[in-house]
C-alpha cells in the first residue's frame, strides 16, 4: 500500500508539522509526497527520511496552496493511492476535505493514533472524548495531529522528484496577500518548550514580560483564547481547541486559569508548569508543578534562577 502526503509549506520552508504527517503515513505503507512551490521545496522534500517519491506540482497556480486547484490535483492523483494524508494545520484542513468531497469520501480529521489501515483514533468534543472510527471508504483521507507523531528526519533521504502536470479546476479563487508574523522564536507546534500567557498578563505591553523567560529557554510563546480575545497577542499564538494543539516537553502556563478549551490544546504536554494567583485555578489540576503567586514576580525570579 502507498500513501500520498500533502506537504504544506510556509515562508519558503516545509512546515515541521508536515514531517509528522510523513511519520504517520509511513505506518500505512510506502510514502510519496506532493509539494507545491519552487524547485528548492521539492529538493527539500526529497531529502526527508522515509519518502520514496516526490511529486512536484510546479505550476504557479499551486504555489499558494489555494484549495480550489490543489484539491482537484490531490483528487486526481489519489487514484494511485490508498491513503491521502496531511498535517492537521490550516492547509490540510482547507484542502483535504474538499479533495475528499471530489472523491466521494468522508475525511477523518485530527487523527492522533492509527489502529490499522481502516481504523483511526481522533478526539471529539474538544478532546473530552476519543473516538475510534473505522472507514468503509475505498480510499482514506486523513489529517493527523503533529503533536501525536514524531517528525520524520528532514535530512537523510534521496527520493526522486517527478514534476506533475496541472489539472483542470474551477478558476474561482485568487491569492491576494499574506501577513506572516515575523518571529525569531521556534514554531509553536514543534517547539520543545512553550511559555504561554493568559488573561492574567493584563495587557499587550505586559505580555512581553514572558519574553526574557522564552529567550532563556529557547521557547515558543503561546497564549490562551482569553489573552487573544483581550487583544494582547495575535490569534496565531492561541493554544486550545480553537487554536493550535501542542504537546511540548515542557509547557509553562502563566496567568492562565485552565478553561476546558485551553486544556484541550496542551494537556498532552510531557511536563506542565502553572503559575497563577488563584490557588483554585483549574490549571493546577493538570500541572505537574505549580506556584501560587504573582507571575510578574515569579517570571523574573525564574529567569535569574535559570542563569545559575
Amino acid at each position: 500500500m502507498t500513501a500520498l502526503v500533502l506537504l504544506d509549506h510556509e515562508g519558503g520552508q516545509i512546515r515541521k508539522a508536515a514531517l509528522s504527517a510523513v511519520t504517520a503515513a509511513a505506518r500505512l505503507g510506502d510514502v510519496h509526497v506532493l509539494v507545491t512551490g519552487d524547485a528548492a521545496l521539492a529538493q527539500a522534500a526529497s531529502r526527508i527520511a522515509g519518502v520514496s517519491k516526490v511529486l512536484h506540482a510546479a505550476d504557479a497556480r499551486y504555489a499558494h496552496e489555494l484549495a480550489e486547484p490543489l484539491a482537484a490535483l490531490v483528487a486526481s492523483l489519489a487514484a494511485s493511492y490508498d491513503h491521502v494524508v496531511a498535517a492537521a494545520g490550516a492547509t490540510g484542513k482547507n484542502v483535504l476535505p474538499r479533495a475528499a468531497a471530489l472523491l466521494d469520501v468522508q475525511p477523518i480529521p485530527d487523527v492522533v493514533s492509527i489502529v490499522d489501515a481502516q481504523t483511526f483514533v481522533r478526539p471529539i468534543y474538544a478532546g473530552n472524548a476519543l473516538a475510534t472510527v473505522r472507514s468503509a471508504d475505498a480510499k482514506k483521507v486523513l489529517t493527523v495531529r503533529s503533536a501525536s507523531f514524531d517528525a520524520a528526519a528532514a535530512e537523510g533521504g534521496s527520493a526522486p522528484v517527478e514534476v506533475v502536470a496541472a489539472v483542470e479546476s474551477p478558476d474561482v479563487s485568487r491569492f491576494e496577500a499574506v501577513q506572516l508574523s515575523d518571529s525569531a522564536r521556534p514554531d509553536l507546534e514543534s517547539a520543545r518548550v512553550v511559555v504561554s500567557g493568559g488573561r492574567g498578563m493584563g495587557s499587550e505591553e505586559k505580555f512581553h514580560a514572558l519574553d526574557p523567560l522564552a529567550d532563556a529557554l529557547g521557547a515558543a510563546v503561546g497564549a490562551s483564547r482569553a489573552a487573544v480575545d483581550s487583544g494582547f497577542v495575535p490569534n496565531e499564538l492561541q493554544v486550545g481547541q480553537t487554536g493550535k494543539i501542542v504537546a511540548p516537553e515542557l509547557y509553562m502556563a502563566f496567568g492562565i486559569s485552565g478553561a476546558i478549551q485551553h486544556l484541550a490544546g496542551m494537556k498532552d504536554s510531557r511536563v506542565i508548569v502553572a503559575v497563577n494567583k488563584d490557588p483554585e485555578a483549574p490549571i493546577f489540576q493538570v500541572a505537574d508543578y505549580g506556584i501560587v503567586g504573582d507571575l510578574f514576580e515569579v517570571v523574573p525570579q525564574l529567569v535569574e534562577a535559570l542563569k545559575k
Binding site: 482547507n94 468534543y125 472524548a129 472507514s135 479563487s173 490569534n235 510531557r270 508548569v273 500541572a287
Partner: protein
C-alpha cells in the same frame, strides 16, 4: 443577493461532555443543547451583510431532529429572515450534510453560503470545504474578515503563521472563525418576532440524497486524565525540579 447559513444543534459549549457507559458515544439525552458557537458567528456575519445592504435575504437551514427548530428560531431571532429544517433522526456526517446542502443551494440559489468552520461536537471542520468542492465554488475558510463587492468576496483567513487574503468569485463559500465578529444577543421583541417567521420542514428522504454513514464508531472513550502534581514555594525550587526531577531543561 441571498445568503444561506447552515446551523447545527450541539451540546452547549458550557456543558462538560460525558462519555456513555457503554462507550457508544457522548451522552446527549437530557443535556442542554444550543446552536454551535461558530454557526452563531456565521449567522451574525450574514445578518450584518444584509444590514449593510450587501445582501437582501438570510435563510438559515438545519439538518436534524424536530428540536433543531429551536436552533433555527434562535437564528431568526438574531435576524435571519426564514428557515428550513431538513428533518432526520440520523446524525449525518459532513459528506452527507454537504450533499443535502448542495440540493438546497440548487433550490434556493444563494450567492453566498456562510458556515461555522467546525461544529464543537464532532470537531470535523469539513462541511464548508466539502460543499464548496461539490459545487465547484471558491472557499474562504477560517475567515476573520469578509468584504463583498463587485461580484467577488474578499476573505481574510486565519492560517498557521498569520493571515492571508483570498478573493473569490461569487457564488462562494465562507467558513467563520472566532475573530470574524461577536454575535449579538437576541432581544425579547426579536425572539417574539422570530416565532412568526416562516419555517419550512422537508423530510430528508424527499431530497433523494444518500446519507449512509461511511464511518463506523468502534468506540468512544474518556481520555486518560492527568493528575495534579505538587505546589512549590519558589522559582528556584521550580528550576531545580525541572532540571533534576523532570529533566526537561
Amino acid at each position: 443577493m441571498k445568503i444561506l447559513v447552515p446551523v447545527k444543534r450541539v451540546v452547549d459549549y458550557n456543558i462538560k461532555p460525558r462519555v456513555k457507559a457503554d462507550g457508544s458515544g457522548v451522552e446527549t439525552a437530557g443535556v442542554k443543547m444550543s446552536m454551535n458557537p461558530f454557526d452563531e458567528i456565521a449567522v451574525e456575519e450574514a445578518v450584518r451583510l444584509r444590514e449593510k445592504g450587501a445582501a437582501s435575504e438570510v435563510v438559515v437551514v438545519s439538518i436534524g431532529v424536530q428540536q433543531a427548530q429551536d436552533t433555527l428560531r434562535t437564528a431568526m431571532a438574531m435576524g435571519a429572515d426564514r428557515a428550513i429544517l431538513v428533518l432526520t433522526e440520523e446524525s449525518p456526517e459532513p459528506l452527507a450534510v454537504a450533499k443535502v446542502l448542495k440540493k438546497l443551494v440548487e433550490k434556493e440559489g444563494p450567492s453566498l453560503v456562510v458556515l461555522g468552520k467546525q461544529a464543537i461536537d464532532d470537531d470535523m471542520n469539513a462541511t464548508g470545504q466539502m460543499l464548496a468542492g461539490l459545487l465547484g465554488w471558491g472557499q474562504g475558510t477560517f475567515a476573520s474578515k469578509v468584504d463583498v463587492a463587485d461580484g467577488r468576496v474578499l476573505v481574510s483567513r486565519e492560517i498557521d503563521g498569520g493571515t492571508e487574503q483570498v478573493s473569490l468569485v461569487l457564488p462562494a463559500i465562507v467558513t467563520a472563525d472566532l475573530r470574524l465578529n461577536e454575535p449579538r444577543y437576541a432581544s425579547l421583541p426579536n425572539i417574539m418576532k422570530a416565532k412568526k417567521k416562516p419555517l419550512e420542514t422537508i423530510p430528508a428522504a424527499d431530497l433523494g440524497v444518500d446519507m449512509a454513514p461511511r464511518l463506523t464508531i468502534v468506540s468512544v472513550a474518556e481520555p486518560t486524565e492527568r493528575k495534579a502534581g505538587i505546589k512549590l514555594g519558589s522559582a528556584t525550587e521550580l528550576v531545580e525540579k525541572l532540571r533534576n526531577e523532570a529533566k526537561v531543561i
